[in-house]
């Protein structure tokens, strides 16, 4: 019994098995050391896809987010705010964490 416990703890330390209850199912928070925040605080810009339609783009330190911009009828918004494949807005402004891009 004691021996099994030691082995479990060792396996846990080497990342071989579950330590405690596992990862939290709550994914609503950026737990980053330098850029910790609730995800409602994310700062977006626009990325225009090759068809000319808008997407919300967010570079939040080590996380990247992309989600379609839709109008009230659920159709893509293709505003022409920029040429296809270009971005608009300071979408990297929400995190102080420096990453290469």
């Amino acid at each position: 019994m004691f021996k099994t416990k030691i082995l479990t703890v060792t396996a846990c330390a080497f990342g071989l098995t579950a330590c405690g209850a596992g990862y939290s199912p709550d994914k609503s928070i950026d737990r980053g050391i330098f850029d910790k925040k609730h995800l409602s605080q994310l700062q977006a810009g626009i990325w225009v896809d090759p068809n000319g339609c808008d997407h919300w783009i967010i570079d939040d330190g080590v996380e990247g987010y992309l989600s379609a911009r839709l109008d009230k009828y659920g159709k893509p918004v293709c505003s022409g705010v920029a040429q296809p494949t270009y971005t608009v807005g300071d979408f990297k402004g929400g995190s102080r964490l420096a990453d290469p891009n």
Binding site: C19, G22, L66, K75
Partner: protein
């Protein structure tokens, strides 16, 4: 010496058996074997509201971020506010069954587009439920196109022009007031 090796082997075998039990125990509540079984498989998202006022599901899973629009089962986005910036009551701009804009209507519309200054506009026509669905689809598109033509003359950029006929009512069609509310051209301003 031999005894020591033998004892070592026995210990190793014991460790392997114990490890098997441990892996089985953790596999029961793990979603996958990756991340050492620590991923329990449940991902509870939060809501991020975009600058248009519409909701998106957002999740941060350590060094990964995920996001997708929050839509109803009918595919309609869940929004806290809309960006409809103008609703034209078509009775004031068109005669019944017509899609020709009156000169006064033309001037009012041109003034609207000149003063609004959005990046672009989505223009959608709507009708009440009199006449056939097919007729209303065509009338509403013709009216939306007439409005878009005025917008284009002022230099405004048009993102899309649509006719929804009677399919997207703003009010119930069982009163004359409701029907009048449904006879409209909606202008969405993209900023």
């Amino acid at each position: 010496m031999l005894n020591t090796i033998s004892r070592g082997l026995r210990l190793f075998a014991g460790a392997m058996i114990a490890a098997t039990f441990v892996f089985q125990a953790s596999a029961a509540d793990a979603q996958s074997i990756s991340q050492g079984g620590r991923d329990s498989g449940q991902y509870i998202p939060t809501i991020w509201v975009d600058p248009d006022g519409c909701e998106h599901w957002a999740m941060d899973d350590g060094a990964e971020g995920y996001m997708t629009p929050h839509v109803s089962r009918q595919g309609i986005p869940v929004c806290r506010r809309g960006n409809v910036c103008g609703v034209m009551n078509t009775d004031q701009f068109f005669k019944t069954n017509s899609y020709r804009i009156s000169p006064q209507g033309h001037a009012r519309l041109a003034q609207f587009f000149q003063s609004t200054g959005a990046i672009s506009y989505i223009i959608s026509g709507h009708t009440d439920n009199r006449a056939s669905d097919e007729y209303n689809m065509s009338l509403s598109l013709n009216r939306a196109n007439a409005v878009a033509a005025v917008a284009a003359q002022t230099g405004a950029r048009i993102a899309d022009v649509r006719g929804y006929g009677e399919r997207m009512p703003a009010a119930a069609n069982n009163t004359s007031a409701g029907m009048a509310q449904n006879r409209r051209v909606e202008i969405i301003c993209i900023r």
